[in-house]
């Protein structure tokens, strides 16, 4: 099975994000980055499928120089090679623009399966995988927790709302977007980190991929959200704050 995993590097979950001076994006200096969480689950699913059925796992991502680090981490966990689409203007491309870059880069690979995480932790659009399927003319299923290879294709477990699930059968090649929690994530081993250094990472530029960059949807402004409620912050040491909260729970919320 030849499996491609589209991954994204995003600001670390605990990062203190601030609006930049132009209010167009966030302040990018001294941000720490990490692999998007549901993409980590997509990679894990791909690695497990390869261990069961053989084949190759290729990771692909778009972004500036720094995303090379995330590719190396995926290679260290067990991916066989990487594709880095070099572009410094990711923020100005809409979801279709980014998916077009990915589609152009992976099309020549003729993979059996394409996986992505369900959604990114920064923009949270949750569209890349589904658009990719349309651009490549492939069937897709989204919010997938479990993938099983069958004689005719795949059987997948899809998450529905409020604790419900559904099984879907689909032929390959196909695109799946992976929900977090389906597998236990692995860590890179020391050997894996060593090996990653010698694995192939192919670079491609947006110009080489001949992808039109004109977006139909523009992110015009980034701002801090307004509070829906006025939160009463209880100050003081942990002990003082705890005592103040117990007072509130007793006399105002009346649950004690």
């Amino acid at each position: 099975m030849k499996i491609i995993v589209a991954i994204k590097q995003v600001p670390e979950r605990d990062a203190q994000v601030r609006v930049d001076a132009a209010a167009k994006w966030i302040e990018a200096s001294d941000l720490q980055y990490a692999l998007n969480e549901s993409d980590a689950y997509a990679l894990e699913e791909a690695l497990q499928l390869k261990e069961k059925h053989g084949g190759e796992v290729i990771v692909v991502t778009a972004g500036p120089e720094r995303v090379g680090q995330t590719i190396r981490e995926a290679l260290a966990k067990g991916a066989d090679r990487g594709i880095h689409i070099d572009c410094d203007d990711l923020e100005s491309r809409d979801a279709l623009g980014v998916a077009r870059l990915l589609a152009a880069a992976v099309k020549p690979e003729n993979a059996d399966l394409l996986l992505t995480g369900l959604q990114s932790e920064d923009l949270g659009q949750g569209q890349t995988g589904v658009i990719l399927a349309e651009l490549l003319g492939l069937p897709h299923a989204s919010l997938i927790l479990h993938v099983e290879k069958t004689d005719s294709g795949l059987t997948v477990k899809r998450e529905l709302e409020e604790g419900w699930f559904q099984t879907i059968e689909l032929p390959t090649p196909a695109v799946l977007t992976i929900q977090s929690g389906g597998n236990k994530l692995r860590y890179a081993t020391l050997m894996g980190i060593k090996r990653a250094k010698t694995k192939e990472v192919r670079r491609a530029t947006a110009a080489e991929l001949a992808v039109d960059a004109a977006p139909v949807v523009l992110l015009e402004r980034v701002s801090l959200p307004q509070k829906q409620k006025s939160t009463q912050i209880l100050p003081g040491t942990p002990k003082e704050a705890a005592a103040a909260l117990v007072e509130k729970l007793k006399f105002e919320v009346r649950v004690l």
Partner: protein, 320 residues
Amino acid sequence: MSGILVVQEAGRNRISFEALAAGRVLADLTGLPLETAAVGDPNSNVFVETSGPPPAAAYAVQHPLLESYTSDGYVLAFEQLIRKLEPSYIVFPHTYQSRDYVPRLATRFGQVLIGDITGIEPGPTFVRQLFQGKMNGSYRHQGDGPCFLSIQAGAFRADAPQPGTFTIQPFEPEIPASAIRTKPGAPFRGSAQTVDLGSAQLIVSVGRGIKDADNLPMVQNLATALGAELAASRPICDNGWLPMERQVGSSGQTVAPRLYLAIGISGAIQHLVGMKSSQCIVAINKDPDAPIFEVADYGIVGDLFEVVPALTEAVKAAKQ
């Protein structure tokens, strides 16, 4: 280009009516007429029981191959309806179903869905959340094509449901059986639900901030002292630290207890939709900018490993 088409989801009436309400906001801003459509029978309750003033037109999209949801079937059906009506805006409720097929449908028109929006402002510009709710982004659509939007649950206030008294036109798309490539199975429940968080009066809920499964007893002690049920946000259940049935949020249970005490939960929208109707929300978090503080009544900004034990002691003392 003529109007605003609101695509409702049968069986998901509440959020469908909220999408209708969002469509009306857009109609007021643009002066365009409002039309609605839904897959299913004209007698489907999403039409029979409607919300607000009657739409200019309503379409029941019908085909035997649409009886079970598939993205291929829905994309084909709505592609044909949109080509016929040529709306300027198409508004969907943001559900697991719409996020499965609408990005694909929009791509077919060379368009991009502006998904999960929480507000519509003059322009029009569309507001949606970024960075798990830590920021808002204002988006604008440009060019001549139709603009695809989906509406976050709870973001727009639906009018009270009332009997629908307008004419519903059937729309029968052409769908060859060979166009449906996926075979969906019937929905099933995950595990046996032995914990009914929905009826709990007091809930102590724990998130990623707890860092390790070994730290859970500290939170359990607080729950026990309060007489509360223990619940969690998704990452805790993903890691297998607590069973899935204790998960609160869009993929878990929806709760509205008298007290919801959120410990180390940042408050991503997927969690907030499951608990924001709680009567009193208390948040303990080290990050003063965490989105959970946007819905909390009371907050303690601090290290949960210090605050929780102190709170447990204070609760025990108060109960003696």
